[in-house]
């Protein structure tokens, strides 16, 4: 534990208002090492609960929560003599104002967590992830014995809608089976939680109509043509599928994570990579279908242009794209 104590963090001038710890805990037998960052509560740590935080993805680092959401610092890009650096100031609304916050990069292969066995350990699923995280927790509480009797909560967001309940169940069942040390779990909280393939996959059209991103008439038509709101498993090429493409066209230039916020790098930015966003299978499926349809249109146009001896224009500069139309 003392080896994991963090004395200072680059970018922050001043004394840390509570104790910070960071380090690795091994899980399994093949060399997986899960990284954690622990921030003691600024109130009495012995009285405050311990709260584990997990970001989603799957595959996204919990440093997202630490840096951008409720960690102890606000991070700001700053110009320095050497180029661009990062300045840290205290976050007035950090969750460690009221709880001991434990940020975990999970599973191995995410963020700062890794495996000595390499990529073969990065093939994983919901249940292995939960089992590894439970093992991590019991070892963590063994290392930090002073928190063993503290009230314990699990928290997270997005795909952690899967991680959190699966881990809570593993902890509860482990406790019942006599696993040591006992973890005093009291509850859990999850934001914008991926939960159920069908329910999550049906959620977008009603959201879009409710926020006036599509018209009520468009929503009513979708509802009727999609078998009374059965959007999530529409067959490719059916009328419902076509209407869902139109829905995606209408909203695709918006910031998917917050329709009120600007989209960093914008809808026309293309890094040449496939989308890595798996937040909700239904949404990913709808997005994927629209993308394929758009590509098919572009291919068809390219063919037509070539047949007339025209040079293919650069995609994104000469052709209107969905985002431009919406803007």
């Amino acid at each position: 534990k003392q080896n994991d104590l963090i004395d200072a963090v680059p970018g922050f001038d001043g004394e840390l208002p509570s104790k910070h710890y960071g380090g690795y805990i091994p899980v399994g037998t093949s060399g997986k090492r899960l990284y954690y960052y622990f921030v003691e509560a600024e109130t009495d740590p012995s009285e405050a609960p311990v709260v584990l935080w997990l970001n989603g993805g799957p595959g996204c680092s919990s440093f997202d929560g630490f840096v951008y959401e409720h960690g102890p610092f606000n991070f700001r890009l700053a110009d320095t003599k050497a180029g661009q650096g990062v300045k840290l100031t205290l976050n007035s609304y950090a969750w460690n104002k009221v709880a001991n916050m434990l940020f975990l990069d999970s599973p191995a292969g995410v963020g700062l967590s890794y495996s000595e066995a390499g990529p073969r350990d990065y093939r994983t699923d919901d249940l292995v992830t939960a089992a590894d995280a439970e093992e991590f927790l019991r070892k963590w509480f063994t290392r930090y014995t002073q928190f063993q009797s503290s009230r314990f909560f699990i928290s997270g967001e997005s795909y952690a809608g899967m991680y959190v309940p699966n881990l809570a169940r593993a902890v509860v069942e482990g406790n019942e089976d006599g696993a040591e040390p006992y973890i005093n779990i009291e509850g859990y909280l999850i934001g914008n939680a991926v939960t159920d393939t069908e329910v999550d996959g049906n959620a977008l059209p009603l959201f879009a109509a409710g926020k006036s991103l599509i018209s009520q008439a468009q929503y009513d038509t979708l509802w009727k043509r999609c078998d009374g709101g059965n959007f999530w498993n529409a067959s490719a090429g059916c009328e419902c599928d076509e209407l869902l493409d139109d829905l995606v066209d209408a909203v695709s230039a918006l910031n998917v994570y917050d329709v009120l916020e600007p989209c960093y790098l914008g809808p026309n930015y293309d890094d040449g990579e496939e989308d890595q966003d798996d937040e909700g299978e239904g949404w990913a499926k709808v997005q994927g279908a629209a993308k394929k349809k758009k590509q098919a249109r572009l291919n068809s146009l390219q063919k037509a242009l070539k047949s007339h001896g025209r040079k293919w224009p650069v995609v994104g500069s000469a052709l209107p794209r969905v985002g431009e139309r919406v803007h």
């Binding site: 409720h70 991070f75 890009l77 909560f153 899967m162 916020e261």
Partner: protein
């Protein structure tokens, strides 16, 4: 490796700085490579299609308390889905009706209780609720931990 519309420059710069890695006792880049917001190493399979039965078991059989909350402007996992499963699929009676919850005399969102599970919205927040509504999030977090309404 960075989700769309997301600016991860500050985190990337900080966590890929050798001095930071050393200070926080993380393995150096030479050993585990660059930190990225989302991993390109992982081959992840979803094997549990629905967590609704697990929520029922945890809150109704094992006595855990739960808070499911939604930033109501998130389109990735919209509140409309969370509202449906919490209200219709838990087989739990509504113990306190849909009502506003307040921070400093202002409506911060809405909340409804189903026994030991509460569903709350955070008004005007996106997917990463504490990023958009830090004060409201901390208030919600503290009240939940303290078992307050």
């Amino acid at each position: 490796l960075t989700p769309p519309c997301t600016d991860a420059r500050a985190a990337s710069l900080w966590l890929n700085d050798d001095a930071v890695r050393s200070a926080i006792h993380a393995a150096p880049k030479q050993v585990i490579g660059e930190w990225t917001l989302c991993s390109n190493h992982l081959f992840y399979t979803r094997v549990v299609p629905s967590l609704i039965p697990t929520h029922k078991s945890l809150t109704q059989k094992h006595g855990l308390r739960a808070l499911i909350y939604s930033g109501d402007h998130d389109m990735a996992v919209p509140h409309t889905g969370s509202e449906v499963w919490t209200s219709t699929k838990l087989d739990a009676p509504e113990t306190a009706p849909w009502r506003p919850w307040m921070v400093a005399s202002q409506v911060a969102g809405y909340v409804v209780d189903y026994g030991s599970l509460s569903y709350a919205t955070v008004k005007g927040a996106g997917h990463m609720v504490p990023t958009n509504k830090p004060k409201e999030s901390l208030t919600m977090f503290k009240r939940f931990l303290d078992g307050e309404p």
